[in-house]
């Protein structure tokens, strides 16, 4: 079962902050002409999200017949380690580099250095501000947040009864969190949805669990809990414990296996999917196309859609999630 | 300088209190230029405390201190050094991880420009050791030196600084005759240069040779200052103890033919070489010797606190040569360590808890699952406290806040926790005042007369001479004499302190 053609959106002009989104259908190459060496760098591989990207990157490398070599820095505080790892893999002979960046600005120098060596750099998932990037395969977290918000706004349009939403966007200060936060808040503007003060916190289950409990404590009238996937996963138990099933619904603004399972079992209401597997796949395809001098879309990402009980049966989970029991793959030869 | 009569050091009404101990009580002390002034007194009399105040280590609770007629407030050793006071502390002040010459120059490094001049320091140290006649490689790390060598480094350190006041706290404790001679020659030279010297020693026979004046301290008070030339040793000892010996030391009955409970044979280890000892029931065995003679370490190795290189230890017929400490204790040995703060007591626990710790081997206190019967343990601990004479109000106090005497009683009390056959007391009365001493001696008497074996290791000569039935004298890691009855006399013992190894009379 091939993943393509896949509904995607490209940004025109590429890399522009105010670029327009144009729908396209993404079709990758069939095979690479030779086994290129591609290096991939992630901030970490401690959750299912990055595992999904790993799955996409590794599978696509296998499908195209190129070599892939992946590093993870160990966390979002390890910018210096990410830099060293990328330098190391360039030294080891990488011909293209795919980066899920820890910092939007902090890698600019390195990117231009690599660019000078004629090695293409592809920006995946997180976003890098350097103009020397060759291609971007990502969706904006603003859109993710806004999709989640729009879902609620549609259910509770202006004029209907006001509903309270507890909002848990993730760790304060992280780029993707502030983008999603903005998107969510913008999308519910003008509807009957009343968002409570955002509760920032690390995306560990204990932390989110505490935040949710404390919020339910402070605001007994909450109708929805929306936030990170971890929030939604962690909240399921609390809802059940307090007998709030049906009284409080859960939303995530991105997809993980836990959220998927939750939607399937009816514990979680909905979540937009950014198809992180596909983002990984496209990044590798872009790299190969650049290396082989073929046409490529400079700035593209899979189309975002909301998964809820109505459509979950039609969605192919292997495009939006790593398969069950998938183990991280660090090398493809 | 203009007034030659101004004393170099003048300490007036100096008092110093430690929690629970009044170490000094209104002591006056003067030192002139070119004077060698001996401080004399028994253990815990306050000698070290007095010179520690002069060295800036402690600040007096009250009293004033003048140097060259000028009132000073010494806040640190560094401060004192700037006033020209150099001290050899009883407790060594060497850094084990540094080399000899680095230690010698520590705190007053030679510099060339902004950097230290290591070559000059090495040269200086070499020359100094040569002048002093100490043969030590100045590049060795101090941790690899023997105690005597460390003592030499310690001495060299203070002779390096151009001190106006030299303080030597028991410098000869572990030196040989030869090195002691060299040291005395140096002291004479310093004296001629107008340096004032404070000298602390327990060796009375040295005083005649170097001292001008002797100040005697007892229980933190100045008893008097006498001229060294006109005062006999006997008078000095009387001044020092201040009471008739037989009031303190009880007569201990001896079992005529006690069973031999423990035997040491051909014991070799760090600090002792080829030692044979029998420990018998119903007898007090004394062990005397200079610092570093091995008198402590032989027993520590028996207890498993340091390795035994060769030899055998037999306890009631069983070979226990390399047994772990706890097995020796379970076998019926009690060891009272000399350093009660470092090794003896749980400082942050109460007296009762300290004693209770040694009750945990008793079946009636600890059930089969390791559950402690709290009330029974408490009652038993209090009974032991009573037996060793700790006031019941003190049983619940944190032990570090008790006086040294009471701490020592707690340490004795730990020995009564379980049935023991052999009691080894290493410095049983260190830093303990006379009244408590008498009480502790009575405890020793009780134990011995109940048919237990008692070993008393002590650097307090009157103590070992008056308590023991049989006295072993250690010298350089060997037993230089075994004395009984009337043989146990001061000049006899002293003779064997310095006896070359193993020569029997």
């Amino acid at each position: 079962a091939d993943w393509y053609p896949y509904d995607a959106a490209k940004i025109e002009p590429p890399f522009a902050a105010d670029g327009k989104s144009v729908d396209v259908t993404y079709v990758p190459l069939d095979k690479a002409s030779k086994p290129w060496n591609i290096c991939v760098s992630f901030p970490h591989m401690k959750d299912a999200y990055w595992l999904g990207v790993d799955y996409g990157v590794a599978e696509e490398a296998k499908r195209l017949g190129v070599k892939m070599n992946l590093f993870e820095a160990g966390g979002y505080t390890e910018l210096d380690k990410q830099i060293s790892q990328i330098e190391d893999c360039v030294a080891a002979g990488a011909q293209a580099v795919v980066i899920g960046a820890i910092s939007a600005d902090g890698l600019n120098n390195l990117v231009s250095e690599i660019h000078k060596k004629n090695i293409p750099v592809i920006d995946v998932i997180n976003g890098i501000s350097s103009p020397d990037i060759s291609a971007k395969s990502l969706v904006s977290f603003y859109t993710m947040g806004s999709e989640a918000g729009a879902y609620l706004a549609k259910k509770h349009p202006a004029g209907s009864e006001e509903v309270e939403v507890g909002w848990f966007p993730g760790p304060a200060g992280a780029g993707w969190v502030s983008a999603a936060n903005q998107g969510f808040l913008d999308a519910v503007k003008g509807s009957a949805v009343k968002v409570l003060e955002p509760k920032f916190g690390d995306t560990g289950k204990e932390v989110q669990l505490k935040l949710v409990e404390d919020a339910l404590q402070a605001n007994p009238n909450i109708r929805y809990i929306a936030g990170t996937a971890v929030t939604a996963e962690a909240a399921q138990g609390v809802i059940r414990e307090r007998g709030l099933q049906g009284k409080v619904d859960l939303l995530s603004f991105y997809m993980t296996p836990g959220v998927y399972e939750g939607i399937k079992r009816g514990f979680i209401l909905a979540s937009p999917a950014d198809s992180m597997v596909i983002q990984g796949r496209i990044a590798v395809d872009q790299a190969v196309r650049i290396l082989e001098g073929k046409d490529y879309i400079k700035h593209v990402g899979p189309k975002i859609f909301v998964v809820d009980p109505s459509n979950i049966k039609d969605v192919s989970p292997t495009n939006i999630l790593p398969p069950d029991g998938y183990k991280p793959v660090f090398n493809v030869n | 300088m203009d007034n030659a009569n101004t004393p170099l050091v003048e300490m007036t009404r100096i008092s110093k209190e430690f929690p629970g101990v009044k170490a000094l009580d209104g002591v006056d002390f003067r030192l002139q230029r070119g004077e060698v002034h001996v401080l004399f007194g028994e253990n815990g009399a306050g000698k070290s405390t007095l010179i520690s105040i002069l060295s800036g280590l402690y600040r007096p609770t009250s009293g004033s201190l003048r140097i060259d007629g000028e009132e000073v407030d010494l806040r640190s050793v560094h401060d004192a050094a700037r006033h020209g006071i150099g001290t050899v502390f009883q407790e060594f002040s060497l850094i084990p991880t540094l080399r000899v010459f680095e230690n010698v120059y520590l705190g007053r490094e030679l510099k060339r420009g902004p950097l230290t001049d290591r070559r000059a320091m090495a040269e200086g140290a070499r020359a100094l050791f040569h002048d002093l006649g100490f043969e030590i490689d100045i590049r060795r790390r101090v941790s690899t030196l023997s105690r005597a060598e460390q003592q030499m480094v310690e001495i060299a350190k203070v002779f390096l600084g151009k001190a106006r006041v030299l303080i030597l706290d028991e410098p000869t404790a572990s030196l040989t005759e030869k090195e002691t001679r060299k040291l005395f020659a140096f002291i004479a030279k310093a004296k001629a240069d107008g340096v004032g010297i404070i000298y602390i020693s327990h060796r009375i026979q040295e005083f005649r040779e170097i001292a001008d004046n002797i100040s005697v301290l007892r229980d933190g008070r100045l008893i008097g200052t006498v001229s060294a030339r006109d005062t006999s040793e006997k008078t000095l000892v009387e001044l020092m103890t201040g009471r008739a010996i037989d009031q303190i030391y009880p007569e201990i009955g001896r079992q005529p033919d006690g069973r031999t409970l423990m035997t040491l044979r051909r014991m070799h280890g760090a600090g002792f070489h080829g030692v044979d000892i029998d420990v018998r029931a119903g007898e007090v065995l004394g062990v005397a010797g200079l610092v570093g003679s091995g008198k402590s370490r032989i027993w520590r190795s028996v207890l498993g606190l340091q390795p035994i290189r060769s030899g055998t230890v037999t306890l009631k017929g069983r070979d226990v040569t390399h047994a772990a400490t706890r097995h020796m204790l379970r076998g019926g040995v009690y060891y009272l360590p000399p350093d009660r703060k470092g090794e003896g007591l749980q400082l942050a626990a109460t007296a009762r808890e300290n004693i209770k710790l040694n009750l945990l081997g008793r079946a009636e206190i600890v059930g089969r699952l390791g559950i402690v019967a709290p009330r029974r343990a408490r009652a038993l601990a209090d009974k032991i406290g009573e037996r060793v004479g700790i006031a019941s109000a003190h049983m619940g106090r944190i032990v570090s806040k008790l006086s040294g005497g009471n701490q020592q009683k707690v340490l004795f009390g730990k020995g009564f926790g379980e049935e023991r056959d052999i009691y080894i007391f290493d410095e049983p009365t260190v830093g303990v005042d006379m009244g408590t001493r008498a009480a502790l001696y009575r405890l020793i008497k009780e134990i011995a007369e109940a048919g237990k074996a008692v070993v008393v290791i002590s650097s307090d000569l009157p103590e070992v001479m008056n308590l023991t039935h049989r006295l072993l004298v250690f010298s350089k890691g060997r037993v230089s004499a075994e004395l009984t009855g009337t043989e146990i006399a001061e000049e006899n013992v002293l003779k064997y302190f310095f006896a070359e190894t193993g020569i029997q009379p």
Binding site: K205, G237 | A324, Y335, P337, L369, G370
Partner: protein, 347 residues
């Protein structure tokens, strides 16, 4: 020094009311440490800020949230009293979570009729994994005399690597419902099961420390290891057992957390090592070893959770929370330092 001079003052001055209050504060401070003051202070402040804070419901909420930190802090207390510390409790939690979840997920389909047996075996596997961690720590520290810092740090790194390797970072879901329903959310006699278990553990550890030989020996080893040796304590065995018990308590917390989040997670317990040390220190456990009481440690852990809860309810930003927690920790230790000096005397 300090004590004596103030004592003399006390004796000299007339016994005014202020003096009695000061003496009472002094007494509580010396007996229990700074915690009661912190606790009273924060209770007052938070209940002024928000009237939600002191509601019964919120306080039970805090009680349940604090279960995990309490359990880990109890273990941490054991090793702190011996004079060491354990940085690998977080790894013990993650390991337990991952291993027990994997075992349950593997066993549940095999024995569908005996789901409780599968749960039991799974829990056993988790505890076993933590036991291994504890044994490693204990061995290195007691036998090879490695500094607890390096030993537990190394084990933490190794354990985290293995846990990640086992799962790839993906939560292991599909645990038996009964597990989460009972250990995560169940109630017995109206009391949440995790709270119940924590209470049992508290009582157990209290008995251990106050009524058993091992407990006395743990205090003794931390108070003065050489003196303990001379009192016939098998110091190596005691050290070893302290680390094993610590790992097992962390593991218990890991099991309860796994039940609570209903999945096996590698990223549980990321900061709990430092938090539990902080809880102990605030609860008056001395980092020099030898001092520390079970009830105060429980209070300390409870206090930290209460503080976080209060700060959450008072809407204090998470950066500010970091600053406040850090300062509080240092303050607590400085005050503890004074307390130690007062208790033991200088040097």
């Amino acid at each position: 020094m300090t004590i004596q001079s103030s004592r003399t003052e006390d004796a000299g001055a007339p016994r005014t009311r202020a003096n009695i209050l000061l003496a009472a504060i002094r007494y509580v401070f010396l007996r229990v440490g700074v915690l009661p003051f912190f606790l009273v202070f924060s209770l007052v402040v938070f209940s002024l800020i928000s009237n939600q804070f002191l509601s019964i419901q919120n306080l039970t909420n805090v009680a349940r949230q604090s279960v995990y930190l309490v359990l880990v802090s109890l273990g941490q207390m054991l090793v702190l009293i011996t004079g060491g510390f354990d940085l690998s409790v977080g790894t013990a939690i993650a390991m337990t979570s991952v291993v027990s979840a994997m075992a349950m997920v593997a066993l549940a389909p095999v024995m569908p009729d005996m789901i409780w047996l599968a749960i039991l075996l799974g829990a056993g596997a988790g505890l076993g994994a933590a036991l291994l961690i504890g044994c490693l720590n204990g061995l290195g520290i007691a036998q090879f005399d490695v500094s607890p810092f390096i030993m537990t740090l190394g084990v933490q790194s190794v354990g985290a690597g293995i846990a990640l390797f086992l799962t790839g970072g993906v939560p292991i879901s599909g645990l038996p419902y009964d597990f989460g329903n009972f250990f995560g959310f169940g109630r017995v006699l109206g009391i949440p099961v995790p709270v119940m278990i924590a209470l049992l553990a508290i009582v157990g550890i209290w008995l251990l420390m106050n009524r058993t030989k091992l407990g006395s020996h743990i205090y003794a080893v931390g108070g003065n290891v050489r003196a303990a040796n001379l009192s016939g304590v098998n110091t190596k065995r005691v050290l070893f057992l302290a680390y094993v018990l610590c790992a097992l308590l962390a593991s218990l917390a890991g099991l309860l957390l796994t039940a609570r989040v209903e999945s096996g997670e590698t990223n549980l317990g990321g900061t709990i090592a430092l938090e539990s040390i902080a809880a102990c220190v605030i609860g008056g456990v001395s980092l020099r070893g030898g001092l520390g009481r079970v009830e105060n440690v429980v209070l300390g852990a409870f206090f930290i959770v209460l503080l976080q809860n209060g700060m959450n309810i008072a809407q204090i930003g998470s950066y500010m929370q970091m600053v406040l927690l850090g300062s509080l920790l240092v303050l607590a230790v400085i005050l503890d330092q004074f307390r130690y000096r007062m208790l033991v005397g200088d040097r």
